[in-house]
């Protein structure tokens, strides 16, 4: 509700993260408002007046301390709700790796992104792969695996519409997944400081319908490009 009013939700798990955000807002908002109410009402109510002496409360009396202890019950309950929801979302996005119908390779370096898409054979690391710089093309309703690499320093593959972030680490290939649900053209950011050009590596993700995407693959595959060049 809150997040998708600011950034469109464009992946299967984006709505879950948005819902988690809303639930946390509610569950921390209620105790916060109660605490604020008590805080400000005490300040207003117990202002110094001539002749009135403060109460002497040690904070060990049952009649007072019960209010503090009692407050732990809702706080712990809210914590449990948040943990369960957060772990659920986390498991879905990061621990779980559902079967993919396509794989893209994402390579970060100072200060550009290289994306390797499968060609018409839909298999990566073959001769018909389509390699682009700072442009990732994907199709909606297709489950992708990304294989994330870094060539020099840490980077972070961040796609706000997917609610996805993952650090890229030199020397490692990190695999994750996403499934786009909306079409359009959106930002890809690097969200881990990577040197003086950190702000200069914006990329774009083009989310296309399956037909549009197939057409894009057709015209951009090296074989197609080569045959056009030959003609």
């Amino acid at each position: 509700m809150i997040l998708n009013s600011l950034v469109p939700a464009g992946s299967t798990y984006a709505a879950d993260i948005d819902q988690l955000f809303d639930v946390i807002t509610l569950l921390v908002g209620i105790p916060f408002l109660i605490a604020c109410y008590l805080f400000f009402s005490f300040i207003l109510r117990f202002r110094a007046k001539g002749g009135r002496k403060s109460m002497y409360i040690t904070g060990t009396e049952h009649q007072y301390i019960k209010w503090i202890h009692w407050a732990h019950i809702p706080i712990l309950t809210f914590d449990v709700i948040i943990v369960v929801m957060a772990v659920n979302v986390w498991y879905d996005v990061k621990q779980n790796l559902p079967e993919a119908s396509a794989t893209v390779r994402v390579i970060a370096q100072q200060w550009a992104w290289t994306f390797v898409h499968p060609g018409p054979d839909n298999v990566i690391d073959t001769a018909d792969d389509i390699t682009t710089v700072n442009e990732l093309h994907v199709a909606t309703n297709t489950l992708y695996h990304y294989k994330l690499e870094a060539r020099d320093v840490l980077h972070n593959f961040s796609v706000p519409v997917f609610r996805l972030k993952q650090d890229a680490i030199p020397g490692r290939v990190i695999t994750g997944w996403f499934e786009p649900t909306i079409t359009g053209e959106y930002d890809i950011q690097c969200a881990e400081i990577c040197g003086i050009g950190h702000a200069l590596m914006p990329a774009r993700i083009f989310i296309e319908s399956s037909e549009q995407h197939a057409a894009w693959v057709e015209t951009n595959s090296p074989i197609a490009v080569a045959s056009i060049a030959a003609n």
Partner: protein
């Protein structure tokens, strides 16, 4: 004759091996430049910290101008290049935490308050104390010197993740990176020395009769903070030396190309980095406890509760570090454990905040300047606390990580700690430190002109963070989705607020100087407070109580005690 020479010699001997006792013949340099007196060392830390805060604040002004008005010639600075932007952001963070929060909250207040509040004439190890400040000063000079070496100061963020921080071909600051890690490592050494002193002094030099539960809360908090610091800093100090070796001696601890692991640094850094938050939080919480009890004339609600929540928070803080690394490439299963421990911290922290709010209940509250600061600490820190839940919840952190939401969250914790806590303590103990009262009207103007802009800087940044603004970007125009007019309006609001807030600090310094020179005399105990530091003259002389150290008869918060008819406070040193 021989007898008197021997006595003189003995006194002279003492001069060189321990704290002075009522000697007036010290030279200028003995008194102000190489002092052994804990109060003077505290002042050195305090004013060095404030000087560094001015520098850190100036850095914030420069990069906030660049963010809100990209490409402009920033007045008093000029064009901000990406390299300059990165090094300003990096050093703003590093300086504000290691050269402002630490020296002011731990070292300055620790040095000033611990001996005075426990009724001791000085620290147990005055020479270690002096050495601590000297090493700290050296580290401060090194971190600033980095701006003047070839390549400029380090710009890889205050977290200094390798390989960016270890390889100069990536960071482009060959000397700056080395200066940075050297300064940070030296600073840790300085505070290790200070910490030894604080713990030993508080445990061994208490006034006769002062039992564990009679120690003022701020002393407890600084001691617990020192213990946390000493337990957590070892790994990072080792990590810092490994980084220094990686940079300069060709080792490969953090170099993935040669078998090292860059994630190792993150673990070492955050194993220290998270307890560090509580290292600076606890002294501020202690300062607030002293102030709200005095200005509501109330006993602290549940002395032991506060103490146990502080210890509980401290212990838990060692188990949460990887919540900074959820998406850093650690085993994803680990995130579940750290989500649980992180959210558990909400229990003791909430209890602590409730106890403070409960202390106000039934009091006679006077809204003096120190009280306004102390109350605003509670309110602003609540916001910092609840926004931490968003980030501790792993699933949500996938989206929120490294956005302005994170930045706004930790400024809502560190700002109340380092700035509000400092102003609370400084305005509260100013009469003791300088023997003069501060101007309350100017104090209140300064308060409101600081606290309102603070909120209008960082509340907009929560919204921008939720809208996807990620951190450490010197020009958001490169990202079409971060380039909407309403986003720029919020960026402008934050920058204008920052300028107002920074200018308001002139009022504070003006108030300090004029009050110091010509404020009304404070007397021994202007706030009618119970604790021992208010039983000596203001400012306390060398040796603190020349006519003899006080004896303690009761706890520090016996305000409005029903057995006490003559006044609403009951000083700790007054026999029953």
């Amino acid at each position: 004759m021989a007898e008197s020479i021997r006595i003189e010699h003995a006194a002279h001997h003492d001069d060189h091996h321990g704290p002075h006792h009522g000697h007036d013949e010290m030279t200028f340099s003995e008194k102000f430049i190489f002092p052994l007196d804990h109060k003077m060392i505290a002042m050195q830390y305090m004013f060095t910290g404030m000087f560094m805060a001015v520098i850190g604040g100036f850095f914030a002004y420069v990069f906030r101008m660049q963010i809100a008005f990209p490409g402009m010639d920033v007045p008093f600075f000029g064009q901000v290049t990406p390299a300059a932007y990165n090094s300003l952001v990096t050093n703003h963070g590093t300086i504000m935490i290691f050269w402002v929060a630490m020296p002011v909250l731990i070292a300055a207040f620790g040095n000033y308050l611990i001996p005075l509040m426990i009724g001791a004439d000085d620290m147990v190890f005055p020479r270690i104390n002096r050495l601590s400040y000297q090493i700290f000063l050296l580290s401060a000079i090194i971190i600033l010197a980095a701006f003047f070496v070839e390549g400029g100061a380090f710009g890889g963020a205050w977290t200094a993740y390798p390989p960016l921080s270890t390889k100069s071909e990536y960071s482009l600051t060959p000397l700056g990176s080395t200066f940075w890690i050297t300064a940070v490592a030296l600073e840790f050494v300085a505070f290790l020395l200070g910490g030894i002193n604080f713990i030993t002094t508080a445990m061994n030099s208490r006034a006769p009769g002062m039992k564990m539960w009679d120690i003022p809360m701020v002393v407890w908090m600084i001691v617990i903070a020192s213990i946390l610091f000493m337990l957590s800093v070892g790994p990072l100090l080792a990590g810092g030396i490994m980084m220094l070796f990686d940079q300069n001696l060709g080792t490969a601890f953090f170099d993935p190309d040669r078998g090292g692991d860059p994630i190792l640094w993150q673990h070492l850094f955050w194993f220290f980095g998270h307890p560090e938050v509580y290292v600076v939080l606890l002294p501020a919480v202690g300062i607030v406890a002293e102030i709200i009890t005095v200005f509501s004339r109330k006993k602290l609600f549940g002395y032991k509760t506060v103490l146990y929540t502080a210890i509980g928070t401290g212990v838990l803080s060692f188990t949460v570090w990887a919540h900074h690394q959820f998406i850093a490439g650690i085993d994803p299963r680990m995130a579940n454990v750290f989500t649980v421990t992180t959210l558990l911290i909400s229990v003791p922290i909430a209890e602590m905040m409730f106890v403070y709010i409960a202390t106000l209940y039934g009091g006679s509250i006077t809204l003096s300047t120190p009280m306004l600061w102390a109350l605003s600490f509670i309110f602003e820190f609540l916001i910092g606390g609840i926004t931490g839940i968003f980030l501790g919840a792993s699933g949500n952190d996938i989206y929120m990580h490294d956005t302005y939401f994170v930045l706004a969250h930790f400024h809502y914790t560190f700002y109340p700690i380092a700035i509000i806590g400092t102003y609370a303590g400084f305005t509260f103990w100013f009469p003791k430190m300088f023997g003069k009262m501060m101007n309350d009207t100017l104090g209140k103007i300064h308060f409101w002109l600081t606290i309102i802009p603070f909120n209008t800087i960082f509340l907009p940044l929560f919204v921008l963070g939720a809208a996807g603004h990620h951190r450490r970007i010197f020009d958001y125009r490169n990202f079409p989705e971060l380039d909407y007019p309403w986003m720029w309006d919020l960026q402008h609001l934050a920058t204008y607020s920052l300028i107002v807030m920074l200018l308001a600090q002139i009022i504070f310094f003006y108030n300090v100087i004029t009050s110091w020179l010509s404020g009304p005399p404070a007397g021994k105990n202007p706030w009618s407070s119970n604790t021992l530091e208010w039983t000596t003259t203001s400012p306390p002389p060398h040796g603190n109580w020349p006519e003899g150290l006080p004896t303690c008869y009761r706890g520090p918060y016996e305000y409005s005690h029903p057995d006490r008819k003559s006044s609403d406070y009951w000083p700790q040193n007054e026999p029953a």
